[in-house]
């Protein structure tokens, strides 16, 4: 039984034209229920594209994606996953609690049930007293916690996160990582997590998937054996540093490729 299966999947943009981009080529990835998997790699390696293929926000050019043994399209219709982005993306015109209710509203839940669930989710992210405030009255970290609450509101088995802590300061970021692990532990949610940060990937994940650009592909998968109970001491543990070094070395290989490719082309990527 797998929570997520990506088989031989490729995504080519502008196929056949001179502007063709091989965003992802022949990607295979299986994620078990309850597992936390991070996708890491330099920009242009296709990690966000892979996340969007899983979310069915993009259609693969070839290969197949299945979530919960369903096609990605069906999984989206059934709301089998929740999603969180780098920008919290809360709606300014809705209160915190109404923001959490949004996905439930779209599924046609009745008001009482929605409000009860929003309350439950606010307890989960430890912000129950902020229900009636507006998002812009909260700090960035709080907004991101509300976004996570929104993503988990329908109790989806899978959570997809696209650099959700990328815009936060380092202190808030570490706190949020701890909170995310706690929340996912309590709800036994499977997570696919896109990030730029090596310590973040290592601290959170059971497995770190290292990706490389041109064409976008998976170059290595590193198991992180830090156990299921992680806390602030984990950040000082030997195993933590060993895994960081392993991921860094795997990434360095892809970076060397990247730099060489740029030198040959004589263009800057961004």
């Amino acid at each position: 039984m797998s929570a997520l299966e990506v088989v031989g999947t490729s995504k080519i943009f502008n196929q056949g034209s001179l502007k063709q981009v091989d965003a992802l080529v022949d990607v295979n990835l299986t994620v078990s229920p309850g597992e936390f998997v991070s996708l890491i790699g330099p920009s242009g390696c296709g990690k966000s594209t892979l996340l969007r293929l899983i979310a069915n926000l993009l259609e693969p050019t070839s290969g197949s994606v299945s979530v919960n043994k369903k096609t990605a399209a069906q999984a989206r219709l059934d709301q089998d996953y929740g999603m969180a982005f780098q920008q919290a993306g809360l709606f300014d015109w809705r209160t915190v609690s109404k923001n959490i209710e949004l996905p439930l509203e779209l599924k046609g839940w009745d008001k009482a049930k929605r409000e009860a669930r929003a309350k439950e989710m606010l307890e989960l992210v430890k912000l129950p007293e902020f229900a009636d405030l507006y998002p812009w009255q909260l700090s960035g970290g709080m907004q991101q916690r509300i976004a996570i609450a929104r993503a988990l509101a329908a109790h989806p088995p899978l959570l997809l996160m696209d650099e959700p802590f990328g815009a936060l300061d380092e202190m808030t970021r570490e706190y949020m990582q701890g909170e995310l692990l706690r929340i996912c532990g309590e709800t036994s949610t499977t997570v696919v997590f896109v990030t730029h940060s090596i310590p973040e990937a290592v601290y959170l994940s059971n497995r770190v998937v290292v990706m490389s650009p041109r064409p976008g592909r998976i170059t290595s998968v590193i198991d992180v054996n830090l156990g299921s109970k992680r806390n602030e001491d984990t950040r000082a543990a030997d195993g933590f540093f060993r895994s960081i070094t392993a991921v860094r070395e795997a990434l360095r290989g892809t970076h060397a490729d990247h730099a060489a490719a740029n030198a040959v082309r004589g263009v800057e990527d961004r």
């Binding site: 001179l18 502007k19 981009v21 082309r265 263009v267 800057e268």
Partner: protein
């Protein structure tokens, strides 16, 4: 994306056709519908004149329409130029003295809300009604406030980093004005001009409805309708539209010249 920036000409032409195509189709379909509606339902000319009739009239009275356009267009142009210069001058004064700016802004907002062109009724008495002066003064007033509000905004709403940078160089207020405020205000000026140019034509034109000389486009339209010559009136309306478009086009070209080489 570091894309190879080559697109074949045919692909570009195709894209352009897809951009412009629907507009052309809509325009032609609209004219055709209009023509057929007038003919098919035998609409009375007081309601709608057929586009073909309007075109006919336009060609027939081309020289008279041109003359009337010169009168209205001349008034608009004089007011536009004078109003722009006065507006720029005043905005420099306002940006220098904060208090003056705060004094004038609420007034400008209120003026924005009211149909200011009714002042022509008063201007006609203050000047000789048989001259173009009241109309030109009216256009000047309208243009003046549009330019004033926008350019003053451009001169004052500069990025604080830029001002702090200049201060760190111990630059004088005048240097900050020249190197930071004025360049920042240039795009605002041209945005304002794009609004002011058509507004000057419209004002010049509406001013003629208040009586006085009967030589411009506005008065010709009313007199043609009074004589039940509706196709002729539509031909003058067409002339008015072309005049408005001409003013707008010139303001866009000016903007293009002034902002050449700037980052998009």
């Amino acid at each position: 994306m570091s894309g190879v920036n080559v697109t074949s000409t045919s692909a570009r032409n195709f894209r352009r056709a897809r951009q412009v195509g629907p507009a052309i189709v809509f325009g032609v379909a609209f004219l055709a519908l209009w023509e057929f509606a007038v003919r098919g339902f035998d609409l009375k000319p007081y309601f709608l004149a057929a586009p073909s009739k309007i075109g006919e009239q336009f060609i027939k009275s081309y020289s008279r329409i041109w003359e009337a356009s010169m009168v209205s267009g001349g008034n608009a142009l004089v007011g536009l130029v004078v109003g722009t210069f006065l507006g720029i001058a005043m905005s420099f004064i306002l940006s220098r003295y904060r208090f003056l700016g705060e004094l004038v802004t609420p007034l400008a907002i209120a003026l924005n809300a009211i149909p200011i062109f009714v002042l022509v009724a008063i201007l006609n008495n203050m000047y000789s009604i048989t001259s173009e002066i009241p109309r030109r003064v009216m256009v000047t007033l309208v243009v003046y406030f549009i330019i004033l509000v926008n350019v003053a905004k451009g001169l004052t709403q500069v990025r604080s980093t830029h001002v702090e940078l200049m201060r760190s160089y111990a630059a004088s207020e005048f240097a900050i004005l020249r190197k930071v405020r004025v360049p920042n205000a240039v795009p605002y000026l041209f945005t304002a001009l794009k609004v002011a140019a058509p507004a000057s034509v419209i004002t010049a034109f509406v001013s003629e409805y208040f009586g006085g000389l009967q030589n411009g486009l506005g008065s010709r339209i009313t007199s043609n309708i009074a004589n039940s010559k509706n196709a002729a009136a539509w031909a003058y309306v067409l002339g008015a539209c072309l005049l408005g478009l001409a003013f707008y086009t010139v303001s866009i070209i000016l903007e293009g010249i002034a902002r050449k080489g700037e980052a998009k």
